[in-house]
Structures are given as C-alpha cells and as structure tokens.
C-alpha cells in the first residue's frame, strides 16, 4: 500500500513542502518545485499580485502542487483571519498556514494569537495549518480547534540551524493524533531526514533551498532526504542504545538461592 499523507481528502506522496519566498526569481522557484516533485507549496498572500499585468507568483506554481497560502505579515489573530478570507475571496483555495509573528527580531510565532485564528478559520471551513512554537498544551488546543496539522518550528525562520526543538517535537509526534509538520530552520537535508525518522508527517523548507547556490539541486536533495527518513520510520529504527553488559542494579538477585 502506498504511503501517503491524507489531508482534507487529498493524498500527498511527497512529504517535502516548499516555501516560495526568497528565491532569485519565480523561474528558479518553479524549477525547484518541479525537480523536487513537491506537492505542497506555501505562498505569502502579501506577495501575490493579481491586479496588475506583472508576473503573478501563482502562475509559476506547478499544477501538481497544492497551494497553501500563508498569512505572513499578520501581527494578531484578526489580521491572520482577514488575510485568510482575502485569499479565499481571491480564489487561492482554503489551505491556510497561519503565521502570526509579533516579533520581527526572531520571527517567532505568537501561539495564543495563532490559536485564536485557528479557532475562527477552522469553523469557517478552512484547512488550517498553524505555524507554532512546539508547545504540547497549545498544540492539543489547536487540534481541538480543528487544525488539520500542527507546524512546529525546528529553529527560528531563516537560521538554518536544524531541529533544535527535537525533544519538544518528539513529544508532539507521540501525543497528537494529527500530522506534525516541522516548519522553519531546517538547513540541511540531514535535518529533514531526522524529522522524518522521528515520525513527523512532513517538513516545510524555504530559506535553505532558496538561498542555496543551486536551489534546484538542493531541493532534490531535500526531497530524497525526506523520503529516506520516512522509509526509515516506516521500516522501524532499531534501538540505538547498547544493552548494559551486566545488571549493576539487580545482578545481586541472581545470587539468591
């Protein structure tokens, strides 16, 4: 049976999601999406211009890709909700990545505002993907509110530092019944592979691919790493810890007659 990620009735086979900002051109972005066979691309509504004769980023998203609009620029729940509604009205679909950032210094998300926006938008029928700091209680409430998945950050946006939040993401994977998609901070394909080995449902990468000297080649490398990590997770990863040679704590019991 094929291993697919089911979200809102769609079967997604490639678990590498790609963000579309920061590329040197839409053309390069398009080639990276095509070469990596990505099936989900996030697009910031703030960058979409449907009103002028200029290039429209949406025209460069391959047909096979599901577009997930993000609310980049929103500073509170109300702004995120308005951006989501604008996106829907503009015909950009109903997959929404909620990004509420009040902190331009680190670009860390505001979990409380993100939860509030999730509650409103899920009720309105959006397929909601909240971008969040990996906090179990809030993640549970995102689930209750109707989020389709949660998107915890690996490390702050753009830092390429990898999965610094590993322990917390592992807890989310273990405890939540919805997909956990690591978003932000992944710099190397090996970072993505680790996420998938842990049981994450997918990863989202933007900066590392967009600013690589060869974005197309790097996107393909990420795609392969995601596939390898996923295959390893499904196959089952043997316990990495060696058994202790003796039983220092209970060995004395063996001497009991």
């Amino acid at each position: 049976m094929q291993d697919t990620l089911k979200i809102s009735g769609k079967d997604i086979t490639n678990r590498l999601f790609i963000g579309t900002g920061k590329f040197s051109s839409y053309e390069v972005m398009k080639r990276a999406l095509e070469a990596s066979k990505a099936e989900v691309a996030t697009v910031a509504l703030r960058r979409v211009d449907t009103t002028s004769m200029q290039e429209n980023i949406l025209d460069y998203i391959p047909k096979r890709c599901n577009v997930m609009i993000n609310t980049s620029g929103a500073r509170n729940a109300e702004e995120a909700v308005r951006i989501a509604r604008l996106a829907k009205a503009a015909g950009s679909g109903n997959w929404i990545k909620i990004e509420v950032v009040k902190d331009n210094k680190y670009l860390l998300p505001d979990n409380i505002e993100t939860l509030r926006a999730t509650e409103v938008l899920a009720k309105e029928g959006f397929v909601v993907f909240p971008y969040m700091s990996p906090d179990l209680s809030i993640a549970r409430r995102m689930l209750e509110a109707g989020a389709a998945a949660v998107m915890p950050l690996g490390s702050p946006i753009g830092t390429n530092r990898g999965l610094r939040t590993k322990e917390l993401v592992e807890i989310l994977v273990k405890e939540l019944s919805i997909p956990v998609i690591v978003d932000a901070g992944l710099g190397r394909p090996s970072d993505a592979c680790v996420c998938m080995e842990l049981g994450c449902a997918a990863v989202l990468v933007n900066t590392a691919i967009a600013v690589s000297p060869d974005p197309v080649g790097y996107a393909v490398a990420f795609s392969k790493a995601v596939e390898a990590g996923r295959s390893a997770y499904i196959a089952g990863i043997p316990c990495g810890k060696d058994p202790e040679p003796s039983s220092p704590l209970t060995g004395f019991l063996r001497n009991e007659k």
Partner: protein, 338 residues
C-alpha cells in the same frame, strides 16, 4: 567636546576597518545574514512628491524656504495621473513626500491624496513633517502603513546649525517621531541620517542605536534605515564631512551585523554602479524610476525645483532587469490593505 561627541565618536571608531581583508570578511558575514533573513529578494518602491512648500531653512535642502524655486502642490487629478503612471510600471509600494509646510500641505490634503492613491497601490508610506501620535493614528486609519522620518543628524549642535529656523529646529519632537508613529500603528518605520553633516562614524553609530531601541521597544514593527549622502541641489551647499563609497559600505555592513533583521534602503541618490555593488552587503529595498520633483513622474518641471539631484535615473523595468541579472528577485508587492 560635548558628552555626545566624545561618547559617539569613540564608540563609532569601532565601525571603521582600514584593513581590506577584514572588511571583506565582514562583508561576507553581512551578505550571508542578509540572504538568510531576506533571501534573494529586493523590494522596490518609488517616491512621489506631492508638494515642495516648506517653512524650514535646512541648509542642505533644495526645498529650503529661502530658495527661490517654483513652489507647487499637486491637485488630486494630478496625483491620480502620477499614480496611474507609476502603477503602470507594476510598483505597488509608494512613498509620498511633501515639504514640511503644514499650512500648505495639511494632513487633510495628504489624506485626500491617500484616498486617490489607495486605488493604485497596496502599500503607502509617508515622509512628511513630524506630527503627534493621534495624527499618525489618523494617517494609519486613512490607509498609510509606513512612516519615514530622518533625524538627519544626531549631533544636537550640528542639528541646530543646519536647521537655523522653522519648526524643524525642535530636535526632540523629531527624534521621538518614529516612536509616536510606531505606537500609532505604523507597520514599518524608517529612520535615517543625512551623511555628510557630521563624522559618519558617530552618526552611523547613533543610527544603529536608535534602530535597535525601536526594534526592542516595538518588536511588531518593521524597522528600517536609509543612508542618504548629501547630493547637489539648487543652493550649492557643500557637506562639511566627506563620506566615501568605502565609508558607505562600512556603514551598511556594520548595521547588518548589528541588526540582522533591519531593513536597509538605498535610493537613487547613488550611482547605478555603486547601487549594484552595495546590493549584496545588506540592502533590502531600493527605489526605482525616481523623481524628486513635484509631479516629476508625468510632468516637465525645472530641475532647479528638485529636492536634490538623483544619479540613478533608470526606469523600473531597467532596475528589474538589473536585479535579475544580479541574481535578485524584484519584489513589487510585499503588503496589502487587510
């Protein structure tokens, strides 16, 4: 020397690198940080001068009240004609400017212009005389999302010398304007120094401190800086301090390393070649297809009535082509009214 002069100049010396190798190494760090946080994208905007009436006598400025230049302000029809022309180039971000004469360019006039401009642009910034917090809030309510206001020079002694008369003499009212704008709900606040009025090291240092203060205090506001060097204008003012291309590069590198998320704009005051070379060091926004004349996008006007001379007169299309060639994506729209 005043406390300011001793303090800022001593610390400002840390900015200067005479050794080429270490400058190159810092430049590489600045480039990497910029790529990481802003990617290969450069936002484009253009200024639109609504009026050039001014009640100040800034010695370095073409709009100085004492300069005998043709004074005018655009009618709403003229604003619309300019808007139509600029938006046909694809730009969605506009910066509107007036001279600082409130009686000739009152807020109500500026808001009427904004009403027209909203039909054409997705982001409107203002560069006008400093106003109160409720007045900034009224501009936000009218559809403005960005505030640009330069202190020009942080050294108070020099400030009072180069601003001998007019409301702009009030150093503190201007210094606190960015903060009032941020509190009033501006999404982006852009500050700047006019390079050439003082030792660049002291001014760049103070600009960095001011930007950091704003960024710390208003984490949800995008803080940006501009680094205009004094350009020739009608009165023939000559800057007292030289600022070389190397100095300008050092300032950009210093600010990027200090504040990785800081927006840094580079205007058409600088030559095409220099702008292209400075781009990777930390620039995030550049102007294109600029004119510093009232109505200058669509009308003929005497070059004498310009605020200053521009050096890079390339069109939006030419700038876009240049950016693609240099490996950058021109971003024409990066916000919208929500």
């Amino acid at each position: 020397m005043s406390f300011y002069q001793v303090y800022a100049k001593n610390l400002g010396r840390a900015l200067q690198t005479d050794d080429d190798l270490s400058l190159e190494a810092k430049a590489a760090m600045a480039r990497d940080l910029t790529l990481r946080y802003f990617g290969r994208a450069i936002q484009l905007y253009t200024p639109m001068y609504l009026a050039n009436y001014c009640d100040n006598s800034c010695v370095y400025c073409g709009f100085n009240i004492n300069n005998k230049i043709e004074r005018r302000k655009l009618s709403l029809d003229e604003v619309e004609a300019e808007a139509r022309f600029i938006s046909s180039t694809g730009l969605k971000h506009i910066l509107i400017l007036t001279g600082e004469d409130r009686s000739e360019s009152p807020l109500e006039y500026i808001k009427d212009c904004i009403k027209v401009l909203k039909g054409y642009f997705s982001s409107i910034s203002v560069e006008i005389y400093p106003v109160s917090e409720p007045e900034y809030a009224s501009l936000v309510a009218a559809g403005v999302d960005g505030l640009t206001i330069y202190q020009e020079v942080y050294d108070e002694n020099i400030y009072s010398k180069v601003h001998p008369a007019g409301p702009k003499k009030d150093y503190l009212f201007r210094l606190d304007a960015p903060e009032r704008g941020a509190r009033a709900g501006m999404r982006s606040v852009n500050i700047g120094v006019l390079l050439g009025l003082n030792d660049w090291k002291a001014e760049a240092f103070m600009l960095g401190e001011h930007a950091q203060y704003l960024q710390d205090k208003f984490p949800d506001v995008e803080i940006g800086v501009s680094l205009p060097r004094i350009r020739p204008q009608v009165s023939g003012f000559k800057p007292a301090y030289a600022v070389s291309d190397r100095d300008l590069a050092q300032i950009i590198i210093y600010l990027r390393l200090k504040l990785p998320r800081l927006g840094i704009s580079l205007s058409t005051r600088e030559s095409a070649l220099l702008r292209e070379n400075l781009l990777p060091l930390g620039i995030t926004r550049i102007s294109a297809g600029s004119s510093t004349l009232v109505g200058g996008h669509t009308q003929e006007a005497s070059p004498d009535s310009a605020q200053f001379e521009i050096q890079d007169s390339r069109s939006v299309e030419e700038i876009k082509t240049m950016l693609y060639k240099k490996g950058f994506q021109p971003v024409l729209k990066d916000w919208m009214p929500i």
